[in-house]
Subunit: 145 residues, 2 copies
């Protein structure tokens, strides 16, 4: 754990966040300023700054989890598509220096003038409701896969 890291602090429950799901290796968190409702983050519990610093096998395991969460998110939100994004380094717009993968549900109507949707502020209650919906689907797919 890195003491000053926001995600490490949420993993340790010394800082608040809307947690969707967690197991021994990963934590799924609702993004605080989502591009679309349901936008969440898949985060390895072990602190690495970027994907490139992780061992190969842990990177593979992280994306096996991403695969599961993406399926669950599409189902929970009835999304038309899903974007998976992962930024490494300030030049790539990484803001929090702890590896995280964005899972962003996309909808046919969510662009304006051909531009990506903007980040939004969603009431905490709505964020918690979305987290519950996604968690249900994670539990469903976990049994299936």
């Amino acid at each position: 754990m890195a003491e000053e890291c926001t995600f490490c602090r949420i993993i340790q429950r010394v800082e608040e966040g809307v947690v969707v799901y967690e197991d021994d290796e990963h934590l799924i968190l609702m993004d605080k300023h989502p591009y679309n409702p349901g936008h969440n983050l898949v985060i390895p519990k072990k602190h690495y700054k970027t994907l490139l610093e992780m061992p190969k096998s842990e990177a593979g395991k992280l994306f096996e989890k991403v695969w599961l969460i993406a399926k669950a998110t599409v189902k929970a939100l009835d999304a038309d598509g899903i974007h998976i994004g992962q930024n490494n380094g300030r030049a790539a717009r990484q803001v929090i220096d702890h590896v995280h993968v964005h899972i962003i549900p996309r909808f046919y109507e969510d662009e304006q003038n051909g531009r990506w949707p903007s980040r939004k502020t969603i009431p905490l209650e709505e964020s918690r409701k979305l987290a519950d919906m996604i968690r249900q689907q994670i539990l469903h797919f976990k049994e299936e896969c």
Copy 2:
């Protein structure tokens, strides 16, 4: 193989593309209209439309390869950061219906007015030169990892 699929056709060498590297499971291809020089795609040889259709273990293996290619691309381009992006479905801007992961080198100066770099057309010769540079680093990291 899907007969009408551009990536399947490139994998089968019935259509041209600037191939960076390949092994039994994956092909690495230079993007035809890169956001930045060095932008390449990691493609599973087996035809799946989206990541969600792949078996979990194959998704994990795909991203173990992504991890390797991202490391090699950063080194080859001396990039300041790297973006990894994967689009599923038209609503998420997926254009070619065969799973592919974008590896996009990022540089501190590559944004204008806070907007992502635009797609570019790069001469074939330059694209081949960049592919050679990335291939060298892939071979280097493959031995190391």
